[in-house]
Amino acid sequence: MSHETPLGSSAPHASCLDLWRERNDQLVRQAKVAQGLSLRRQQLAQDALEGLRELLHCLQGLPAAVPVLPLELIVICNFITLRASLAQGFTEDQAHDIQQGLERVLETQEQLEPRLERGLSGLWDSVLHSSSLLPELLPALHHLAALQAALWLSTDHLGDLTLLLQTLNGSQSGTSEDLLLLLKTWNLPAEESDAPLTLQDARDLRDVLLTASAYRQGLQELITGRLSRALSSLQEAASGLCPQPVLVQVYTALGTCLRKMGSPQKALLYLVSALKGGSTWGPPLLEASRLYRQLGNTAAELESLELLVEALSIPHSSEAPQLLIEVELLLPPPDPALPFHSGTQSQAKYLLASRCLQTGRAEDAAEHYLDLLALLLDGSEPKFSPPPCPPGPCMPEMFLEAAAALIQAGRAQDALTVCEELLSRMSSLLPKMPQLWGDARKGTKESPHCPPWVSATYLLQGHAWVQLGAQKEAISEFSRCLELLFRATHKDKEQGPASNCDQGCTSDVALQQLRAAALISRGLGWVASGQDTKALQDFLLSVQMCPGNQDASFHLLQTLRRLDRRDEATALWWRLEAQTKLPQENATWSLPLYLETCLSWIRPHDHETLLEEFQTSLLEPRDL
């Protein structure tokens, strides 16, 4: 056999097998040295990969032979390990490499019936059940099987994986379906001391598999709500061999699980150990804030959110990936829907600000919103930050929330600034005011559609003026708001691609409430300037618009009383009485936060006393 050896003349008398082995060992050593991020080292690893590929070509260029086969399989294992870890994931290529290795094994078994259609699991079945399988092949085959298991785990082929493990475990445990149990009982044959070098030990690989599948299983059960099983799986994962970042994730998941199971103290313990353990503090802090929120401890909740913002401002340092198959490689791709993603700094900041606003800490909320806007809009240095991920509000709504928080905190002037900033930034997209083109159109056509948040901006501006005591300006802003709102008809809801966020953010209910709020606000403005008849008109309209809105009815009732229109007032009072006795079923609208805040400003302070007071005043004349 005249074969050109890759090593040339370094060992003139050695056999080909020895030369190939030596080459394998040398490449493995090279790859082990190459762990790291620097370019030279990456190049070194890449070269080692190419070397392994060449060596594999050499070996597979010859007919399969039993003495060479263990080495060939080990080279395949090293190649797959290096390639998958360099690419940070498994692809079809690896499956193909494994298949080739198995076919080579079968070639020596002289069982070459056509089995093309049987697929990888069929191949494994034939190889492992082959009667003439040599014992010296077993360690390498088990190693290859471990890589196959990793591949199937990462691609979610759990059925195939279970079958393979059952076959590997032999018949005695063939009945078990439990993946974790199968992995634990998997008895890997001992490797000989003079075996060719491997990048990653088969036993290591099995431990990694065990941890990864336990974590995956735990997450799955957590999502589907089988909490006690999730807990045991996750605990299994935590007890295994686990790199630090994964351990943090596992602990956080344990925290979530325990929180859902109703043991917050235990959950806290896990979260604390997650925080102690690693450098990724995001997920445990976010989980802690949820935990405190559930416990009703607002101070602690906000504190953990503040910490979260701080933690996320530290740039994430990416560690050099190891040139091994690690647990991270086998985890499912990060899913934004899962609760263990802390998001970005701006997302955390938004969460903090909105929670402050919701819990009534307006001053803090205002500060946080201003910080957030600065963070997002600071263009001097391109610091990229995203708005909170969907289904969070879109950018204009964030401006509106900021304005609402500022008004709530008594900083009306600042709120006006924020609103003006919003309008000026979007001025190019806003429809021109009617007087610009109204003459030409003679009012025959419909008015342009306008995103609801523009109307909401005017509404908030009006409230800011109210706070500043300028009723006239306030009323004119409310009028503008109403004008825009009543133009928006349903049919021009589908606008251009630009308005995709508008539709998502503003449901029909929200639009209705926005109209009611604007009408009530203007009505209150009229009341404040003493024009009760105009106020009455607005309140009436708002009651028509939104019959379920009790605030409107109360304001109407008060105005009617002031105008001394008793009959109407009485009729309304009866209706209100009836309504309040009914169970309040539609309190679960999810309105935008700015609208909720705004509605809270125009809510009459004391429903009960008002009703009682009215009752007595109503009944008095009848007594007469």
Partner: protein, 826 residues
């Protein structure tokens, strides 16, 4: 704008592979007087226009796919195929000329207008230090740079992946300072085959960075690297309120599958802990349905006098076949702002394109360089005008030719003359040239020829001759090809007419089919020989093929007729008038030894349009981009062509019978081997004597079962009339038998021996006995007994008896003029 004649000057020539440069990969950028150029090879050239020479040539370890300049930092970013992104500092690198051992790749010569090989010594090639690689990634396909962010597009196994990196600077720690964001363009599936494989992708994706008008990103360097500033209105409409509010640049991405999508850059801050949701981050603007080769922006509306800086108000995307998407802001009937997306068609295939500062887009095809003006000269948007074209877009794009062909990369020079434009172009032959256009030219008044400008004039003429000659040669080639195709088509039409117009009598082109037994590879095989005879005045040339369809009878009843028939297509290689051509095909029996009779052999002439016309449809120029061929040929379906049926021949049992009993020593009739039999079996069978010569399973049946018999009676009168004179001299019985077996190879022996009964062997080895005798039929007719001929078919196999019977019936039912006994072969 009609009749634009650009002034073309040649600057330099660069080496190009045989057959010219391929489009798609060459790149060219301008920075001041310097031109950075890559031709798709490993080299990047730096050419100084003022000095008229090459100042540097960099050699990279692989093909260069993309260049970007960061003017502020004087850095050149280079994407090297399957390696990654390299960064060169322009100040430092161009000075540090290390002497390389005269690399033969260095072909950039320094003549300023002609290919003067002996100008200045060629500048030396600087191999690029591997440390200059700032982002090693073998899967990168393209990238762009914005300020200090590097935006890359990599081809994953199943998805395109966009990644953001902090831009590393030359001289700093070359390691990328970390990924800022990443998103997968999940809806867009890249073509199969990862770029790791040796075949380079035909089309690279295109990235383009678009900033809103108010953005604080400096415009000067955006301009240099393929970025644009867009008017706020269109920006907001296309990319949404969030992008407008954030004043974030947007990356437009045109993919080879035709998708045009956008990513708002400021939203793309993701990490492993905060994965990006492609649905939220990536928006698909359009699907062009052909590879996107260019994205650019234009200013279509005239600016008011007082506005200083112009921003583009119109986005353009160009597909490979010329499909063009134009996006502009407009007002609908209700007065709402809407984005208008309109598709046009420009002549393709588009090799490259460029946008200038005004309203003109330039695009190059193999045969021409065209300029398209999208300027809107009507009143600015007016919703009252009902017939106003939406968005102020022209209803049709009219490209104006510039008479320059096969430009593979284009760049609009920043130093445009007043009221005109200057283009830098690299032709497929590797020539770098400038084209100066006077966009608002009146008829140029003849200038006085002075001594000073005579030289200039001569230079211009020479340049003009170069352009024209290059163009002429490419056009000539195309015309030749078309002429050839037309000649072929004409010939084909003649042949078709000749064949289709003859209904009676011998056809000018005929095909006769005969069958015979021959021994192939120890197995007897029935072969059909189709003889194509051209007695017309035309010749069958390239493009013609003879299609022979063999349809076996058992399948004929089944529904999947098309799949069971076997069709052989044999190209006819020039069959002149009066010549013949023979094709022999095996009919069976197959491996199972079964031959399902009767077999129908249909011969058809087929003329492939694809083969003949296809060549003329491809632009003749040697753009060795294989995709060009594929795509233009898609116009013709695979099966498109002319189909002329010639003959249909049925091979039945009577033709396939063999008569070993008649075999004479001098005749080479093949012995009755049972199909696929072992020679040893044959030998043993022969030893056992004549009684057991049938070695198949049918022998038992033959021994113990009475043979099946069928008899057909036919009036002697009729038979006489049918046979005509040819039976004179022999008894009617013998003549009948000869008539039945007329198409069998053994008919001559029959004739010689004057037999009236014969024992034959069917293809499967069972015997078939044919006996012809005269009988009198009494019970058929009242007028009395009728003289009749009885044909008795006898076989131990019922199936064979039936087949033979069927064949005899077939003979009787055939129209009279076909019932001619073949003349004895003399």
């Amino acid at each position: 704008m009609v009749g634009l004649t650009p002034r073309v000057d040649y600057l330099a020539g660069f080496c190009c592979p045989l057959g010219g440069l391929a489009a798609g990969k060459p790149r060219m950028l301008c920075l001041g007087a310097e031109i950075f150029l890559s031709t798709g090879s490993e080299l990047v050239y730096v050419y100084d226009r003022e000095r008229g020479l090459l100042t540097a040539v960099y050699k990279f370890p692989g093909q260069v796919w993309h260049l970007e300049l960061l003017a502020l930092r004087r850095a050149l970013y280079v994407l090297c195929a399957r390696r990654g992104i390299y960064c060169l500092s322009l100040d430092q690198a161009s000075r540090s000329v290390s002497q390389d051992d005269g690399d033969d790749k260095d072909d950039g010569d320094d003549g300023d207008s002609e290919d003067s090989q002996d100008g200045e010594p060629p500048s030396s090639v600087i191999p690029v230090d591997p440390d200059a690689c700032v982002l090693p990634d073998a899967t990168l396909c393209t990238f762009t740079v914005l300020d200090d962010v590097l935006i890359t597009l990599a081809q994953g196994p199943t998805q395109w992946k966009m990644q953001l990196f902090k831009c590393p600077c030359p001289g700093e720690d070359p390691r990328p300072r970390g990924q800022i964001g990443e998103v997968e363009l999940s809806t867009c599936i890249p073509p199969a085959g990862s770029p790791r494989e040796p075949t380079a992708p035909h089309f690279l994706p295109v990235l383009c960075c678009v900033s809103p008008q108010g953005s604080r990103v400096l415009h000067s360097h955006l301009r240099g690297s393929g970025g644009f500033t867009l008017e706020e209105t269109l920006f907001g409409l296309l990319f949404g309120a969030d992008a407008s509010l954030l004043e974030s640049p947007v990356i437009l991405c045109g993919l080879p599958d035709g998708h045009l999508c956008c990513v708002v850059l400021k939203t793309l801050v993701t990490s492993r802990l905060a994965p990006g949701d492609p649905k939220a981050l990536v928006k698909i603007l359009h699907h062009l349905e052909e590879p996107v080769v260019f994205i650019g922006a234009l200013r279509t509306e005239l600016l008011a006098e007082d506005v200083e800086e112009s921003h583009s108000d119109c986005l353009v995307a160009l597909g490979h076949h010329g499909r063009t998407l134009v996006m502009k802001a407009s007002w609908d009937e209700a007065g709402n702002l809407v984005p208008v997306l309109r598709e046009y068609c420009l002549p393709g295939p588009v090799l490259c394109a460029a946008c200038g500062r005004g309203s003109c887009m330039y695009h190059s095809t193999p045969s021409d360089l065209c300029v398209v003006d999208l300027a809107w000269r009507g009143t600015p948007w007016d919703p009252t005008q009902p017939d106003g074209s939406p968005g102020g877009l022209p209803s049709l794009l009219c490209p104006t030719t510039l008479n320059v062909c096969s430009v593979v990369t284009l760049s609009v020079s920043p130093r445009a003359p007043e009221g005109g434009a200057e283009l830098l172009a690299l032709s497929a032959k590797g020539r770098l040239m400038t084209c100066r256009l006077d966009l608002n030219s009146e008829t140029p008044c003849p200038t006085r020829v002075t001594a000073a400008n005579t030289g200039q004039k001569i230079k211009e003429f020479l340049s003009g001759i170069f352009t024209v000659s290059e163009r002429v040669s490419s056009l000539k080639k195309a015309v030749d090809q078309r002429n050839k195709a037309l000649t072929c088509l004409n010939e084909a039409m003649n042949v078709s007419c000749a064949l289709l117009s003859t209904e009676e009598g011998p056809r000018p082109i005929s095909c006769t089919t005969t069958t015979s037994w021959s021994r192939l590879q120890l197995q007897d095989m029935l072969t059909a020989t189709c003889l194509l005879e051209n007695s017309s005045d035309f010749s069958l040339d390239q493009g013609w093929a003879l299609c022979v369809q063999v349809l076996t009878s058992s399948r004929a009843s089944e529904l999947d007729l098309a799949s069971s028939a076997v069709t052989y297509t044999i190209p006819v290689d020039r069959l002149g008038p009066g010549s013949r051509w023979e094709v022999t095909l095996p009919l069976g029996p197959g491996e199972d030894g079964v031959l399902d009779l009767p077999v129908t052999v249909s011969c058809t002439l087929f003329y492939s349009l694809r083969e003949v016309v296809g060549g003329a449809l491809i632009p003749s120029d040697s753009f060795n981009d294989p995709s060009l061929d594929e795509h233009s040929l898609d116009v013709l379906p695979e099966q498109e062509g002319i189909c002329l049926p010639l003959s249909k021949h049925t091979v039945d049992m009577l033709q396939c019978l063999r008569f070993p009993s008649l075999a004479t020593p001098h005749m080479q009739a093949p012995g009755p081997l049972s199909p696929a039999s072992d020679p040893v079996d044959t030998f043993l069978g022969a030893c056992l004597g004549p009684g057991s010569e049938l070695a198949g399973p049918a022998s038992l049946q033959a021994k113990y079962l009475p043979p099946s018999v069928a008899a057909i009676k036919m009036s002697v009168e009729l038979l006489r009339a049918t046979l005509g004179d040819s039976h004179s001299g022999v008894s009617l019985c013998c003549a009948t038998l000869q008539w039945l077996l007329a198409e069998n190879a053994a008919v001559d022996i029959l004739r010689a021996r004057a037999l009236s009964s014969v024992q034959g062997v069917a293809p499967d080895g069972t015997d078939v006995h044919l006996i012809v005798r005269e009988v009198v039929v009494t019970d058929l007719c009242l007028a009395g007994p009728i003289q009749a001929m009885e044909i008795q078919v006898e076989s131990s196999s019922l199936a064979n008896m039936c087949r033979a019977h069927h064949a005899v019936i077939g003979r009787m039912q055939a129209p009279p003029h076909t019932l001619r006994i073949r003349e004895p072969a003399s």
